[in-house]
Assembly symmetry: C2
Homo-oligomer: 417 residues x 2
């Protein structure tokens, strides 16, 4: 008998038929002799709809009330999934967030889990019941309902798996797992059977948002292995766990972020503190700056380029212009027609020359690189957006299709017996 945590996202619960199929899937595992905890998100687009409703009532919905409102989405799922399980003649016990023992801080709409008191859940598991828990929510020290932010249901599942030392944690979604690239852009993309936490985290930051970073960070911190797999398809999915550099692929995935824009500030006097003034001003407005490149020219004047999310472009440009004027810079430009191509792989730490291979692959495809940034396990290049598909295909060909790396990196046996 194993303890298995299964998390189902909103797209897996968007209709009554899907809810019934999820219940069937859960009951099958239970009848194989396992204990099952089911963590559920709100049905379909419920959360977005509730946020829209709140915005019609308040120009900036207060966090406490917003959390109360949003928490109802998962409660509906808990009730319906529990009923669907009971319709299949298994006993279910539904836990809205405030009874599941998940205690958080008071940071409404993005609360952090402080501790978990799983006694009630354990008691119901021991009675042989399937436990259904509302993802995404907890209880503050003042006993108000809090929510854990976007993707919070993944965090709930992983946190429960950690505290209960579950044998298996499965994140069910509408894709069969994590792919070497977006299959819509790269038809040759393949499922990745095994990934390290670090790679998964870098993928979240490159726009390939399979899961939110916080859930993966939590899994990494508490060493909770988990799989990402499809609700309504067969297949083992992608296992994410602690991997040695030796176990890792040189490049496990290639990703694209075309939701960024580039801002350039030209001919800034090259004095200490110039960059700080600019980026502190952006930070003060909660603008997330991704890549930064600075070159110094001959006359002690520098050009600074950086990328921000498209939705922050207007505000960023305004701030950059103000600071630039104050600094005596010559000109500020914005460029929306860019795309960021990234390669990610824990193995690249052991393999020098990966960056060179990437640049060569892009050059061979006739693609000009406009910005470069690198980390230990990631290399990103900014290119023209209209060349994005060609760029990602060239890089995918170079690192993924040319290698038989899957054979050196097999998923462990995930059958629990």
């Amino acid at each position: 008998m194993a303890l298995i945590v299964q998390k189902f996202g909103g797209s897996s619960l968007s209709t009554v038929e899907k809810i019934k199929a999820v219940a069937k899937r859960v009951v099958t595992v239970k009848r194989q002799g396992h204990q099952v905890i089911v963590v559920v998100s709100a049905m379909g687009k419920t959360t977005d709809e509730l946020i829209a409703l709140a915005k019609q009532v308040h120009h900036q919905p207060p966090g406490r009330e917003l959390d109360l409102l949003l928490s109802t989405g998962e409660m509906v799922s808990v009730a319906l999934v529990s009923m669907a399980i009971e319709e299949l003649s298994e006993e279910a016990e539904g836990f809205p967030g405030y009874f599941a023992g998940i205690r958080t801080d008071t940071l409404h709409t993005k609360a952090r889990i402080k501790r978990i008191e799983p006694i009630r859940i354990q008691k119901e598991l021991e009675k042989g019941k399937i436990v259904v828990v509302a993802g995404f929510q907890g209880l503050s020290p003042e006993d108000a309902i809090t929510t854990l932010g976007r993707g919070g249901s993944d965090l709930t599942a992983i946190a429960l798996a950690a505290i209960l030392q579950a044998d298996r944690c499965e994140i069910f979604t509408d894709v069969p797992g994590v792919f070497t690239a977006d299959p819509n852009r790269v038809p040759q993309a393949k499922l990745i059977p095994l990934l390290s936490y670090e790679e998964m985290l870098e993928m979240a930051s490159t726009g390939a948002k399979v899961m939110q970073s916080r859930a993966v960070e939590f899994a990494k911190k508490y060493r909770v292995p988990f799989t990402v797999r499809a609700t309504f398809q067969e297949g083992e999915g992608t296992m994410v766990k602690e991997l040695d550099v030796q176990e890792g692929a040189v490049v496990s995935s290639v990703s694209l972020d075309d939701k960024q824009a580039k801002i350039s500030v030209f001919r800034v006097p090259d004095q200490p503190g110039v960059a700080a003034r600019l980026f502190q001003a952006l930070g003060a407005e909660n603008i997330n700056v991704d890549m930064i490149v600075q070159n110094v020219g001959q006359d002690n004047r520098a050009d600074i380029s950086f990328t921000v999310n498209l939705i922050d472009l207007e505000k960023s440009l305004q701030i950059a212009r103000e600071i630039a004027t104050g600094l005596g810079a010559e000109r500020v430009t914005a460029d929306e027609d860019i795309a960021k191509i990234s390669i990610i792989g824990i193995g690249m730490m052991n393999h020098p020359g990966v960056a060179g291979r990437m640049f060569h692959a892009l050059a061979s495809a006739g693609i000009n690189i406009e910005m470069i940034s690198t980390s230990e396990i990631k290399i990103s290049c900014v290119v023209r957006r209209k060349q994005a598909d060609r760029a990602i295909q060239a890089v995918h060909r170079e690192f993924i299709e040319s290698q038989e790396r899957e054979q050196s990196r097999t998923a462990p046996d995930r059958e629990v017996t």
Copy 2:
């Protein structure tokens, strides 16, 4: 400073615009210097929609899960009304049922309030906040969410008014109050300014369902005066409180129930226990029998007629036929084309001859009476359904329009200063 409980039903909260209007109304009272507790129902038809959803997932949704599901409806209202109040720059504190301190038994979907622990609500009131409470729900001894049955939000409001000794309890709805008759059927119908609990209870049982009986019974038991009034219209509405017979109108209202059917069992041997067998069998199937008439004929055989709700007709007929066969009765008939006209008035206890006046009014209008039943403050007659409108108008003319009784029965001053 008075403590005022205001309850808003689903039709008063069915859109964002209505929620904002409700918030404005609440804030106005607060700014007059009062403490305000707002009890809210689920928006519009939410509860019906959730029940329909549950029935798609489970052939007979289990009560515990159903209550969890249904409770989300009022939670959404609590969150949105709280936000709308805060948008108007007043502080609000939202209480989902499980935090409001309303403890019930474990009878899911129709739980009874056992006790109320209002400490948290009182604390927030003392801070000057407007308290918004989810109606219709409580918490079982096992800390599961329970619901109080249809109309349960009225009960929540009245129970809170009782325990907190509120100065005023207002049930806001989509009609201006309780009328002497259904204005759709009797254009001359007038608002009743003052009613006794007993009259209000009889009206619930005659088909004029302004409020569920349980809420009125609770108000009667704890002597909580309350008003029924319109959310989006001016007017003081109807006050319901303890009244002396002397204070009461002879007939305060005339009502019609055309959702009943009559079943007749002919020529039953007139032996002890015959009626018991029939009505115990119906009771065992949870069929609510309203009027019962029995006549004994010459040859020691009786005819028994009774009325049931139309939705119970088929089942009742089946049971009646089985029992009738066993008893050796001659024949069983059903009649769907009936209507029940009732007059209600606490004052009729002091005024003999009321029944005679009613029968005469109907006879003068050429309407035949098929069944009669009476209680202390109610007289009901069954007539042909197609004559229902004519019958109710005749009776209304006789008892309401012909009297200037309103002048002898004025509502007390409900302004709180």
